[in-house]
């Protein structure tokens, strides 16, 4: 229930929320857990396997029990109620193991930000604040991150004073001071969840969650911080350790420090009558504070026969019964705690009525990030826990994270760590530690497990319902490694990733095997430290920003004229331009006809273009292409193929020679970046002596292919100064000319077999050129589909469609493009390998279905028999391209077929939808094999 006063909550405002259908209220500063405890709710969740009721166990992100589903304002699965800041209108419900995803798209935004700093301090408890203050005081650029909404850490949950003022006030003032410094950034609600190589840490900042429906839509809900820090101080505190005893999962069983936090920070009494079960001194403070706040503390059960003298005295002073050398043998109750069985041995004993049982088995430094950083962990016998050992990166633990468990110790340790981290920045006055009262000496041997005969209700992992008995089954099955036990029992794999149970699991295994935790070790600490939403990690790299969209200078025109687009690499290319009422097939046949019978134009700007410049450019290209490029005359153009060293086709395109020392190379659309990389790699790593530079100029040029028997006429009209006759402007040459009044480079090349010109202008002028061409009223625009049909009719392969990384130029019937004269070029040596020189390799051929109206699906395979044998059926090859041809008046296909070049005229069969379709093998050149059309 709620105390009259106290706590860091704002009682002047009331927040309304619903849980499991019930209305409750709370205040700003509450978590869902504290508000529910204040409202008298004990059961928050139901355990996944055994269906047992579960309550609030902790007061922080280590919570193993109280996981809830958020339903409104927007569904979010599985959050610990101890981490959900309360807001007006929150609707949540208890969970029984599985969360629920929303069915609607998430309307929130997410983002990421990069930051660099000298010192990153993780955790704004006493040690972290002292560290940040010291580092900042020494002039370092500091980032201080803490997952809580306000700085203070453990100070928020205790009455301790620092520098003579209440700890929470000191924390607020210190944070305010830090925020006033120009080079310090204080991040609230920010969990550092991953620690990677080279001091790269990732954090998530929850920016609007706590505002509920009032969250402004323009602010990213969560933001990932990618931080590169010169030095890191990990002041991540400690988690209190549970003890395994019968019934330790009942609602009402709670970590002692957590109860203290509920009292001080949230002004909530988590119960009325309490028993405290401890193996160390820290729980005494909790007992006294609770008693002070009005909870009846029935007894302190201390496993030690000789508890700390002064604490014991104070407990007695307060009238609290102290049962030294005793243990809690069972927690009992129906659905929630009602009594505690206490005895001097493992079983039985005296029953004490209580609705609250505080447990403290000691404290575990939060070593997760330290371990992730590559640092080693060491088992500290005195503390009974793992503490940071040697670090591999520039990182140091501070305070409780390093095994320092007193407030003055943490303040001093933090200040020293901050000063060290500031390193060369550290001035003479760098580190003066804040002061707090000296603590009393503690001695706290590790205590894990209350012995019993029956371990089936001694829970180790509360969320996974793993008991000591389950662990014994695992060790009994022969398992000796904690990793195996984890997998056998699923301990440590739940939402909390074993934050409170991990070490306990190891201890129970060690106990069962008669070894020690030090020997056995623990399972690996993996990122993320806390669960992080998928959306936060995806950030803004979604939708249109998932991958850049590249469009050409003519894109608007294509859109305005109803083009449908095809994604080619990152580019949007016009696929075809349907007219009203046309389907794809009709549109493409029309576009093809225009190109073969009249004139048509395509936006070819996406082809990669690379300027290759330098005195050795010709030599360089000779080494890369299979054919000779250095002999190309200025003014001429040559088609070329590049292979990988293994002889397989890498890319193809044209090479034009602009000057003695200047070539322009074109690549396929999808491979432009790869080919530039390829060239630079060879130049820089193998042939640095070649004087050549390569520059991508793809975006600088807009390119229009003007294709068809009437293309010359259209070009002549647009470029009156250009001599366009076949004699004046021969095939495979280029000219400079004004086209439509725009300075242009015009190439006479053809990817369709028709008379064709490729007109290049600067991108700025692209749209003007295209519009001028279209304004002639003669020219039909066409897209990639028509381009594919036209080239296929001529047997021109498309790299990546008719090749798949296993095809040589010879396989493509292009031995003519492979120089026999050059001593070497990339790939040459591979052609003579046993498999690469086989006569029956798959080779590119044409196919004519015997039914001229039948369109073979691309990807169809070919067999030699008219009936199919039982699988596996020997396959001869497959259809790479298949179209309806306006020019041929029928369908046709290209295929890669075993020994295909020797099979021309053969009949093969294509299994299509259960039938075998007869096809005839032909040359891969089906249209105009004589090449009569290219001059118009």
């Amino acid at each position: 229930m709620r105390r009259e006063n106290g706590g860091r909550i704002d009682r002047s405002r009331t927040l309304r929320f619903r849980f499991d259908g019930q209305e409750y209220t709370g205040h700003p500063g509450d978590t869902l857990a504290s508000a529910l405890l204040a409202g008298g709710v004990r059961q928050i969740a139901t355990s996944v396997k055994l269906g047992r009721p579960r309550g609030v166990f902790s007061a922080g992100s280590e919570e193993p029990n109280a996981v809830v589903q958020i339903e409104e304002p927007f569904p979010e699965p599985m959050l610990p109620a101890t981490t959900v800041e309360l807001y007006d209108g929150l609707v949540a419900r208890s969970l029984a193991g599985q969360g629920r995803l929303a069915t609607e798209p998430d309307p929130a935004r997410y983002d990421a930000v990069h930051a660099h700093c000298d010192v990153l301090v993780v955790g704004a408890g006493p040690a972290g604040l002292a560290a940040a203050r010291a580092a900042a005081g020494a002039g370092a650029r500091v980032i201080l991150a803490d997952e809580q909404p306000e700085p203070g850490g453990a100070l928020l949950g205790s009455p301790d004073e620092v520098d003579g003022v209440p700890g929470a006030e000191w924390a607020a003032a210190t944070a305010a001071h830090l925020e006033g410094l120009p080079d310090v950034r204080v991040l609230r609600r920010t969990t550092v969840f991953g620690y990677y190589d080279d001091n790269y840490l990732v954090a998530v900042e929850r920016r609007t969650n706590h505002l509920g429906a009032a969250a402004p839509a323009h602010v990213a809900r969560e933001r990932v911080w990618r931080i590169r820090a010169r030095q890191v101080v990990l002041a991540t505190g400690a988690h209190e350790r549970p003890i395994a005893f019968a019934g330790n999962d009942l609602p009402g069983v709670m970590l002692a420090g957590a109860a203290r936090t509920y009292v001080h920070r949230y002004g909530v009494l988590p119960g009325r009558r309490a028993v405290v079960f401890t193996a160390n001194d820290s729980a005494y403070a909790a007992a006294l504070d609770l008693a002070e706040a009005g909870v009846e503390v029935a007894a302190i059960v201390d496993v030690r026969t000789a508890p700390g003298e002064r604490w014991a005295a104070r407990a007695r002073e307060r009238g609290i019964e102290l049962l030294a050398g005793h243990v809690v043998t069972a927690a009992r109750g129906d659905g929630q705690l009602s009594s505690v069985l206490v005895g001097a041995t493992g079983d039985g004993g005296r029953s004490i009525d209580a609705d609250l049982l505080l447990v403290s088995g000691g404290w575990n430094p939060v070593v997760h990030l330290f371990s992730q950083s590559g640092g080693t962990l060491r088992y500290d016998e005195a503390l009974g826990t793992l503490v940071p050992g040697a670090s591999r990166q520039a990182v140091q633990p501070a305070g409780a994270a390093g095994g320092v468990f007193t407030l003055p110790g943490c303040l001093a340790d933090g200040a020293a760590a901050g000063a060290r981290a500031a390193g060369p920045h550290a001035g003479p006055h760098a580190a003066e530690a804040p002061r707090a009262a000296e603590p009393e000496a503690t001695n706290a041997p590790a205590y894990w497990l209350v012995p019993a005969n029956d371990y089936s209700a001694h829970f180790v992992d509360l969320q996974r319902d793993v008991t000591v008995a389950d662990i014994h089954r695992a060790t009994g099955a022969g398992l000796r490694s904690v990793e195996h036990v984890k997998r056998y029992t699923t301990a440590g794999t739940a939402h909390d990733q074993g934050k409170t149970s991990g070490l306990l699991t190891s201890a129970v295994v060690a106990h069962a095997l008669g070894t020690s935790v030090a020997e056995l070790g623990t399972t690996t600490f993996r990122a993320p430290y806390l669960p992080v939403s998928f959306a936060a990690l995806a950030g803004r790299d979604r939708g249109a920003l998932h991958d850049p969209v590249r469009v050409t200078a003519l894109h608007e025109w294509h859109v305005a004229h109803g083009a449908l687009f095809e994604n080619v690499g990152q580019w949007k290319r016009p696929w075809y331009y349907p007219r009203p009422g046309e389907d794809m097939e009709t549109a493409v046949l029309r576009e093809c006809r225009a190109a073969r019978e009249s004139v048509a134009a395509m936006d070819a700007s996406t082809l990669g273009k690379i300027d290759v410049i330098g005195p050795d450019a010709g030599e360089f290209l000779d080494r890369l292409y299979t054919n000779l490029m250095s002999s190309l005359k200025v003014g001429s153009v040559r088609y070329g193929v590049m292979c990988r060293p293994d002889g397989m086709v890498l890319d193809d395109g044209t090479v034009i020679r602009l000057a003695d020392d200047h070539f322009l190379v074109t690549t396929t659309t999808g491979n432009a970046a790869m080919v530039l990389d390829w060239m630079e790699e060879w130049l820089q790593t193998e042939w640095p002596s070649l004087r050549v530079h390569c520059t991508s100029v793809t975006e600088q040029w807009a390119t229009v292919a003007l294709v068809g028997p009437r293309s010359r006429e259209v070009l002549a009209g647009l470029a009156p100064g250009l001599a366009v006759s076949a004699a004046d402007f021969p095939f495979m040459t280029w000219r400079e000319a004004d086209v439509a009044g725009i300075p242009a480079r015009v190439c006479r090349i053809s990817f369709s077999g028709e008379l064709a010109f490729e007109i290049n202008v600067t991108s700025w002028d692209g749209l003007r050129l295209w519009t001028a061409i279209m304004d002639t009223g003669l020219v039909t625009p066409y897209g990639t589909e028509t381009m594919h049909v036209l080239r296929a009719e001529k047997g021109y392969p498309i790299v990546g469609q008719d090749t798949d990384g296993t095809v040589t130029p010879h396989d493509l019937g292009m031995s003519w493009v492979v120089s026999k004269k050059k001593p070497d070029f990339i790939g040459k040596r591979s052609f003579t390998r046993a498999d690469t020189s086989r006569a029956d390799r798959k080779q590119l051929v044409g196919l004519l279905p015997e039914d001229p109206g039948f369109l073979l699906p691309e990807g169809t395979h070919l067999v030699s028999t008219a009936t199919l044998p039982e699988p596996p059926v020997p396959m001869l090859g497959h259809v790479t391209s298949s179209y309806r041809s306006a020019a041929l008046g029928r369908t046709f296909a290209l295929a890669l077929v075993k020994g295909g070049q020797g099979r021309v005229g053969e009949r093969l069969y294509a299994p299509v939808a259960g039938t075998l379709v007869p096809v005839t093998v032909t040359s891969h050149v089906l249209y105009d094999p004589e090449g009569a059309r290219r001059d118009g």
């Binding site: 599985q98 669960p531 998928f534 994604n567 397989m648 498999d835």
Partner: protein, 410 residues
């Protein structure tokens, strides 16, 4: 008591698995590496070939390498005949494996979708489906609407960056529980007499007169008539001790899981272009794989930007995942070969056999590999299904190029 969510329970493991052994002085066969492949090989050596004086020598805890870290996707719809042969053999074995091993493997044939996002993806997919069918592998081509029917949460809207144009579907494909598989093999092999030596790293191969004679380990030397390498990401390191170079590069590969969620994802979805592979495991967690780190590394840990990229891709295809949480990420070290296909067979050293190069996709092959590799070791002759994967192919050029082919390698 509230009813428990479906899948909250996994079947219990047996009360008895295997016992850790102390190394003996000599074995007929020493298997280096106690991952899935090593365990399956041991089992089939004993079961199919009667060779039971076998030790599986494992550097860490048994099956704690990639076997414990993979996303458990099982399928056999590979493009090339050679691949279809061995993966389909494996899938057929999967179909009887629970009975064979007497262990609940949670083998769930929920089907695998491989999405196509470009016209070329579509061509490649159809090619693969058709090849699969002729090879006797079940396969279908689905259009976007049919994809939606199989997996309603896939975003098939045309206005995403790379819309789903369709998918290949292999209904017999699916997932299994990796630990159960490993332990099932270990338990069954143990029952046949195979020994498991854990926390024992092989530091060198002993070779004399061109023949392997044993291994040096961190727990002493062990003599062996034959040695079979099943060291996955560490194969190069072990082979190098016998002077054998392999065309392998080791890279970190990461994966992650979410919290337990109510069932939303009934199948397995893989996409190459928008790099995602995801399924929802039996208890309800989303299991998702990420890409490999580009640089060679033996750290069982990848870079975080790979995970971020992965999440962006996941949300492109599955917008409903937005508020799911990443609970845990991890990495394994995978050995990638030049053609993304395994290397199985004899080596220049007599009595030394290799099985490696499975890269990002060897879990699904576990029973098939075990079967074929055991045969190879027992007969000193490659099993016919393994023969195309010999080391020799890099010399002749007869690669089995699953890189170039459309199939995603996982």
């Amino acid at each position: 008591m509230t009813p428990r969510p479906p899948g909250a329970h996994l079947p219990e493991h047996p009360d008895r698995l295997w016992s850790a052994a102390e190394p003996k002085a000599a074995y007929d066969v020493v298997i280096v590496g106690g991952g899935g492949h090593g365990l399956a090989t041991a089992y089939y050596l004993a079961k199919n070939h009667g060779i039971t004086n076998v030790a599986v020598v494992e550097r860490g805890w048994l099956a704690g390498g990639n076997m414990a870290r993979n996303t458990t996707i099982i399928r056999s719809n590979y493009l090339w005949d050679e691949s279809a042969g061995i993966y389909e053999h494996a899938l057929k074995l999967w179909e009887g494996l629970e009975e064979e091993l007497g262990y609940p493997l949670l083998f769930s044939q929920r089907g695998v979708l491989n999405l196509a996002h470009s016209l070329q993806d579509v061509r490649d997919s159809v090619r693969r489906v058709e090849a699969n069918r002729l090879n006797g592998v079940d396969a279908e081509w689905l259009d976007a609407a049919q994809v939606k029917e199989v997996c309603p949460i896939v975003n098939v809207s045309p206005d995403v960056r790379y819309p789903v144009l369709g998918a290949t579907f292999q209904p017999r494909a699916g997932i299994a529980k990796h630990d159960h598989v490993a332990w099932g093999y270990a338990r069954a092999a143990a029952a046949l007499g195979v020994e498991f030596i854990e926390n024992c790293e092989v530091t060198g191969l002993r070779v004399s007169g061109g023949r392997v004679t044993g291994v040096d380990t961190t727990r002493g030397a062990i003599a062996a008539g034959r040695v079979a390498l099943c060291a996955a990401g560490h194969t190069s390191v072990v082979a190098a001790t016998a002077g054998i170079d392999l065309p392998l590069q080791s890279h970190p590969l990461q994966a992650l899981v979410s919290e337990l969620l109510e069932p939303v994802h009934p199948t397995v979805v893989m996409s190459n272009a928008v790099h995602v592979y995801v399924s929802q495991a039996h208890k309800g967690e989303l299991v998702m794989g990420a890409g490999i780190d580009a640089a060679n590394s033996y750290r069982q840990r990848g870079a975080f930007h790979i995970i971020e990229r992965q999440m962006a891709a996941a949300l492109e295809l599955f917008p409903v995942f937005a508020r799911a949480h990443v609970l845990r990420t991890w990495g394994g070290v995978v050995d990638v070969s030049p053609d993304a296909s395994p290397i199985i067979g004899l080596t220049p050293v007599d009595g030394l056999y290799i099985n490696c190069g499975w890269g990002t996709g060897g879990f699904k092959a576990t029973p098939g590999v075990g079967w074929c590799f055991a045969h190879t070791v027992a007969h000193d002759d490659p099993h016919p299904l393994a023969a195309p994967f010999s080391l020799d192919r890099f010399v002749t050029g007869a690669l089995v190029d699953e890189h170039g082919a459309a199939a995603v390698a996982h």
